[in-house]
Symmetry: T
Subunit: 66 residues, 12 copies
């Protein structure tokens, strides 16, 4: 097991549901890092012009640089 990890914080956004927004955030971090675990920091959102709810989920991600 490594002796240290770093944290990255991201916001994942989706109009589908909360889980899809989390997936967007994890995918963003996975571009540059190996994702080990995450924690949901907050859930925000808005109503789009198409009258859909857009979920914006902030994640704190434990990871290591690729």
């Amino acid at each position: 097991m490594p002796s240290a990890f770093e944290y990255k914080e991201v916001v994942g956004i989706s109009t589908e549901n909360i889980e899809a927004a989390i997936k967007e955030g994890l995918d963003e971090a996975a571009k540059t890092h190996h994702v080990a675990w995450f924690e949901v920091l907050s859930m925000r959102g808005r109503v789009t012009d198409a009258n859909e709810v857009e979920y914006q989920v902030s994640l704190k991600i434990g990871c290591r640089a690729k």
Copy 2:
């Protein structure tokens, strides 16, 4: 852009899922206000007599009176 918004806080309730409870809360606020954005404050719930999980999601909503 307006120079001020007000906050309303509501609880949306649904036995379907968390997203449906959020939608109930947003609909409640939309009766009297233009909804601009929201933040999930807490998620609570209970088990109903029909043995379903009832989700109770508290929202803080940035809005302007209609």
Copy 3:
């Protein structure tokens, strides 16, 4: 059961005791809303000129408009 409630926040004030201050806050909200439940957010106060302790109790109240 309704599918949504709104929150109102009030401060109830009394020199009698904490319970009386809570009652003042609930009475204020009950003028315009059906009170369902409440939570104490903070308790503050001051010493009056008559040397009494004045209790100021902030309440977050789950309710529905009358």
Copy 4:
């Protein structure tokens, strides 16, 4: 109504979605207690070896021993 309840805290885990993880946590508590209500304390997770997101939802549960 009883004059007291106790709190149990559990973590429910599922790769399906957040609601399924909540259900796992409630089922764990229901083995030994009558569940009255719950509150979500935190949502954490990880990416499994099968590349699925695993949701770990911490619940604080108001209950009474069976």
Copy 5:
């Protein structure tokens, strides 16, 4: 002095006053544990059908199993 204590969390409920609700919570814990100290976590409540205020006080109790 023991080298460890455990925490129990309970809700005490009373329509009399806050102190009586605390007493209900301590009595619940004392059925199975020796109570050493407590901390008030939150105070909630509701208005009963008889128009009384019901106090619901959450306590975190430092204790040892009997």
Copy 6:
């Protein structure tokens, strides 16, 4: 002194400075209420297309309906 106040929460917005944003929020509340005191809940902002910093200050305002 009144025996109760209500709280309103608003966001005041200005590209001038933080104090001007607070003033916008107080003015919004003053349209319908007598403002007694306020507390800054959070300060957010963004960079506008004109490359100015826009300050968005959330206020919790103790007040009474006019």
Copy 7:
């Protein structure tokens, strides 16, 4: 009105009730300071050997040195 106040933090203790514990804390601060306002920070306690509940209320007090 003065342009500055200082804060003192004290714990007031009483086996009578919460209000009496608050009064003990205010009296302690009043020995050396003019008390302007206070806020309850936490409420803790214990069960005494005489089986009474002892309330320990922490106060943050806005004041000026005498």
Copy 8:
């Protein structure tokens, strides 16, 4: 470097702006202590009879007695 500092908490008050209120608080502490650093704990305020905004800034100050 000293091996210990103490904290003082003060409220600085000004109708000019937030920075002037911070300065009032620092000046209050500097009467009796060497000020090393500070942190803003909260910003509150009120509207004066002269219709000015009065800023009340709470500071936690790291210092050593003179």
Copy 9:
């Protein structure tokens, strides 16, 4: 991997150092549970009559009943 864990909260106490106090808390939980992970909630203490510092470390422990 199990689909649920429970949380226990304990206080571990030692005059040796913080790590020893954590060990006391983990040992207390291990009497009845399989310990999976823990989080430090708070560190308190006192000075004993023998003029030693006694460390009191509160832990939240993720575990399963034996």
Copy 10:
């Protein structure tokens, strides 16, 4: 709109005023990222040898890498 943003946290420092310190922090982030929004996390400071107040404002910035 992008489906994800990342957060950067910075401290901006200025002896001029709080707004100038925020600007320093935003400029630091803008060297490598497109800044979308920010939130003030804390405001700290110190008194310089030249007897000026130095403002140190911590910002959480929503952004995307350039």
Copy 11:
């Protein structure tokens, strides 16, 4: 037992370890007060020019003036 205690907040600093920093803070308070109990508020630090880690532990101390 006294009916009131006061709180002092201090920072203890040491390059040895966390326990030594706590001891420095308690010693600072003990110069003028009888220390009854303490709580760790935060742990900060820096790397010194000699490449040592310097621990800065903030304590909230329950005490009575000597």
Copy 12:
């Protein structure tokens, strides 16, 4: 003095003690940054298969890129 710093968050891990875990986290950040100061955000851990306590200390580090 620079007019801005950035924050990095890391987790340092060690089975030796808390100070060693902090050192691992600082060393991780020092690979790419000049470390100016740090703050402990949380302390978690687990019991290893070899029955040792593994300390996992989260740090928020004020730094500048090398």
